[in-house]
């Protein structure tokens, strides 16, 4: 079968190094098992940093309480920088256009969309992502409320929803249900767990009073 294996014509067929099993644990066996054990998977920093682009600017950010510096491609969004440079997996890329909210993070405490901002715009600022809401292993009240109320299905928008809800409660600590609906509308949930999301935010608001 190997001779017939697909490739681009006229090109050598290189054989890659042995890396088949690297990091598989983070996905294959890990996900549910760790969930049940109540232990987060933690950050898997890339084991090799990609080569620095030719044009970079030094950027220093405080991410979830940790100061991090790196040479950053000025074209890189804040989202890509946090994910690719520093291995955060919470903030998600849904649309890259500011239309879905999955990349929501807190910038100096205020909720913003990290896909439509550039890392170089935020040198010296403080970033909190969904990972940073966990304190000493304890989930943030909003996180607990989302878990208990089943405020998600696939979970892909959830980091953004949770972070957005934390920002919302900072802006407006006692929102009505109607206000929660409106002020959480920057976060699409295509699974449409909206009713449960409102319940979760309302619970968290009550708990924080």
């Amino acid at each position: 079968m190997r001779e017939k294996a697909s490739t681009f014509a006229g090109e050598p067929e290189p054989s890659g190094p042995n890396r088949r099993t690297v990091l598989v644990g983070a996905v294959g066996a890990g996900v549910a098992g760790t969930a049940l054990a109540g232990v987060g998977v933690g950050l898997a920093a890339p084991t090799t940093a990609p080569p620095a682009p030719q044009e970079t600017l030094p950027v220093t950010l405080t991410v979830n309480g940790v100061r991090r510096s790196a040479p950053v491609d000025p074209r890189a969004s804040l989202l890509d920088t946090l994910r690719d440079q520093w291995g955060l997996t919470g903030p998600k890329k849904g649309c890259d256009q500011g239309a879905c909210g999955a990349c929501t993070m807190l910038l100096d405490g205020t909720r913003v969309l990290s896909c439509i901002s550039l890392a170089v715009l935020h040198d010296g600022q403080e970033i909190t992502t969904v990972e940073g809401l966990v304190a000493k292993g304890e989930m943030h009240p909003v996180q607990r409320a989302f878990a208990e109320r089943d405020g998600f299905q696939c979970g892909f928008c959830t980091s953004g929803q949770v972070t957005s809800a934390v920002g919302l409660l900072k802006e407006n600590p006692r929102p009505s249900r109607a206000e929660i609906s409106e002020l959480m509308s920057g976060n699409l949930c295509r699974c449409a767990a909206y009713s449960n999301i409102v319940d979760a935010v309302a619970d968290a608001a009550r708990g924080e009073r």
Binding site: S15, G40, T47, D150, F152, C154, C157, C189, R190
Partner: protein, 734 residues
Amino acid sequence: MSEQGIGAALTRVEARDKVTGAARYTADVVLPGMAYAALVSSQVSAGRLRSLDVSAAKAAPGVLGVFSHLDRPTWHRVPAIPYFGETRMPFSDDRIHHAGQHIAIVVASTRQQAAHAAALVKAEYEAGKPVPTLEKALPSAYVAAQGNYVNFPQETVRGTPEEALAGSPVRVKAEYRTALISHAPIEPSVTTATWEGDELTLYDTSQAVVVHRGLVATAFGLPEDKVRLVCPLIGGAFGAKTHVWGHTLLVALAARRLGRPVQVVITRKQMFTTTGHQPPTVQRIEIGAERDGRLRVITHDSTNSTSFVAERPENTVLSSVATYAVPNLRTRVRLARMNFGTPTAMRTPGDGPGSFALECALDELAHELGADPVELRRRNHADVHPQSGKPWSGKNLLECYRIGAERFGWHRRDRRPGTRREGNDLIGYGMATARRVEHHRAAESTVDIRTDGGVVVRTATQDIGGGTLTTMIQVAADALGVAPDKVTITVGDTDLPPGAPTFGSITSGSNGSAVRLAAQDARGAAIRLAVGDKGSPLHGLAEDAVDVRDGRLFAKADPRRGETYAVLLTRNRVNPLRGNGKYSPAESQYETSTFGAHFTEVRIDRDLPRVRVVRHLAVIDCGIVLNTKTARNQAQGGIIGSIGVALMEELRQDPVSGRALAPALTDYHVPVNADIGQIDVHFVNKPDHNSNPLGAKGLGEICSIGVSAAVANAVFNATGRRIRDLPITPRRLL
């Protein structure tokens, strides 16, 4: 059977991971030395590439390779379809079949470099004359031959439909249209490919790792066991990740050529143009009935668009074939090719658009007859399957109507349209029936009991948000007699026993049955071990004299006599004790479906006139419910998705080129939080053991079927305006 977890409102086992950002989705996988790809899209919708200049892209900083049809990829073979996106392999020639078609792949060291270089690829086209829209394609519509994707009868005749129509005292006839709509999952499709010699590992956003592995293996000419597909968590799909699309193969090809792992996260625009959609349909329905409302005949003629590289009929007409007791019937499905991407399954294929047409037509008939829409449906209830005549494995549709009408307050509906007002709002009620064939698929699982009393379920299905990880644990816990918190599950990897795809509402019934069989197997083996073990307090008992609860085996006659799985296995040095489950659906004497009834209240600002669904109630009959918390959530989501289909979703096309005008979430509107009214879901919750060993049936699709018709019928009740084209926008109501 539910004392040990089935039906309980358990919190999802992966909840903490999902709310803390620890859950790993495909794009979160980072491999050492991984490069990033960007795909270049065709700007025209028909014709051929006159030239493709990749020199600037190749010279751009960080670029490792640029590949296109010029590199003449040698695919081993076109994989078997269905479940393979298109019959044309990517880059196989210079032909362009739709705007957005992949014409080159650029790989670079960083994401930004790849995106930048992709913008430097210069394509010149010899533009052809596209068939831009379904409207323009209709004159060349045709009935497809059976085979490939065409896996249901394209034409059905029952009785003598023409005579029946001629002799019907009451007739309604109308044409309904549904829009080109898009799955728009929040997670874009992602593939990361890595080779070790001739072994390929793909981290791929896949609704079916087991099925897709075989297809990829075929494309690359590899034995299946040389391909591994990994995808435990899907960030939403709704059908968009049901098939293998071109990007998956191209990334694998580039990774092989470059000798390093390559990842692509396709752009939101490419999600709209290259990973399928639900095609627009034009459906003509004619119904003939007696004056008392009994149906004499239905004819249902449906045409949907397809691409020039795949034939994909929407089985809309099954609604007419299988929902009501009607002695005469004629259905036909035709395809019309247009220069757009290939359509695919989208929640809910066939029945979504089909039930819109049929259930609206029923409402028109009810109005014509002056009959109550619920009563009309009751009168035409199909006691057996109307086409095959076989009995149903389980059906509680009449109960759905009864409970729904009662809880909704259906009696408050005024039959005269446009009569209920409140301030500026017109108020209307509408309802519709839901029916979906329950699909069965072979699935396997193992269940391991360990000496510490813990249990591990292993099965290569994946979690798409339906609560699969939790419900499979509940099934195993129930069958084993252990607490659910003793059970963990591993999914989403073809190295595991082949599980079911996460599409077609298959998971609960088929994969659940496999898990149940595996757990029963393990439990049986443990009991046999105990009764044959002189060291066991249960030694010598008959197997059926032993029961298990909370992880402890005990004599039914004397519950004090017994021991735990942990003690038994530790003493016998069995670790783990593995149970195997293989669910193979057999030819059945029954027809199996899921059912439901939807009731909707709309309010319409009569000046603007915008429709809001303020209240919706669904009563759903999907067998036994495995987890009421996740099921309610899933059903509410399906309903809201379909409210979006009813009121706002449409991927508009340019009438000349056929290109999607605004393939972006800024303009392809899906419901937001502030759009949502009160959504109530009630489950009949009766097990259907004739369907499968577990008695559970699919929920993901049945909850969304009929919703758009219920909304349209409510709009008619509110306004007297019959909108037969989706979505029901203010423009159409004006």
